[in-house]
Amino acid sequence: MTPHPSGTLLQATRVIIIICLVLLGIAAVVLVIGGIVLPIKWDYAVSVIARERPEVDTVGLLSQILMIFAFGFVPIVLAWSILRKLLEIIATVEQGNPFVHTNAIRLKAVGWMMVASYVISVPLAIVAKEVAERFGDGNIDADGFSLTGVLAILLTFVLAGVFEQGAAMREEMEGTV
C-alpha cells in the first residue's frame, strides 16, 4: 500500500484520541468514586462547607451534586464510544478501505451519540448552574446551545451519507473489469 498523504495527520489524531480515552477513563473513575464516597462522607463535607462557606445552604446539595455526577457520567460514556468508533474508522482508512457500509453505520451512531450528549448537557448545565449559584457563582451557561455542536452533528450525518454512497460505489467498482 502506498503511504497515505494524510497519514501523519491520522497518526496524530490517533494519539490525541488515545490520550482523550485515557482522560475520559480517569474522569469516569473519579465520578464513580465521588458518587460512592460523597454520600458516605457527606457529614464531613457539610462540616467543611459550614466552616469555609457558612453562607452556603447545604439542604438538597448532595442530591444535586449526585445528579451532576450522573448527568456528567453519560456524556463521558458517549464520548468514549464516539472516540472508539473514530479509532475504528481511522484503522479502515489506514488499511486503505474506508468506504465500507460499516463506517457509514459507525458515523451514524456517532451522530446520534452526539445528539444524546447534546441533549443531556441541558439538564447537566441547569443543575450545575443551581449548585454554582449556591456558592455564589452563577456564571455557567445553562442554555447548552452551541452552534459548533449543531454543525458537528450535521456534518457527521452528512459524512455518514457520503460514506454510504462511497461504499455502494466501491462495491460496484469492485465487480467491474
Binding site: 460496484e172 469492485e174 465487480g175 467491474t176 473489469v177
Partner: protein, 70 residues
C-alpha cells in the same frame, strides 16, 4: 446472471490460455478470471475492446443474454 460470458469457448477456439490473453490485453489474470467465471458485475468498454482485438471477435461473440433471441 442472465448475461453470459463466452470467454472460455473463445479461448479454446483460438488455442489461447487466460494467462496469454492477460499479457496481450494488459488486464490482470484475476480480473479476467472474474470475467470468465461470470462473477463480474460490469465490463468497461476499454476491456471489451481490448479482448475483442486480442481474440479477433465482436462483443456479441464474447457476451450473450440467456433466454434472448440470437
Amino acid at each position: 446472471m442472465p448475461v453470459t460470458v463466452n470467454l472460455d469457448e473463445l479461448l479454446y477456439q483460438r488455442r489461447m490460455t487466460l494467462t496469454e490473453l492477460s499479457e496481450r490485453v494488459d488486464i490482470t489474470l484475476a480480473n479476467l478470471s472474474i470475467l470468465k467465471t461470470g462473477k463480474a458485475k460490469a465490463i468497461r468498454f476499454s476491456t471489451l475492446e481490448a479482448i475483442c482485438h486480442a481474440l479477433d471477435c465482436q462483443p456479441g461473440d464474447l457476451l450473450g443474454v440467456k433466454g434472448a433471441a440470437a
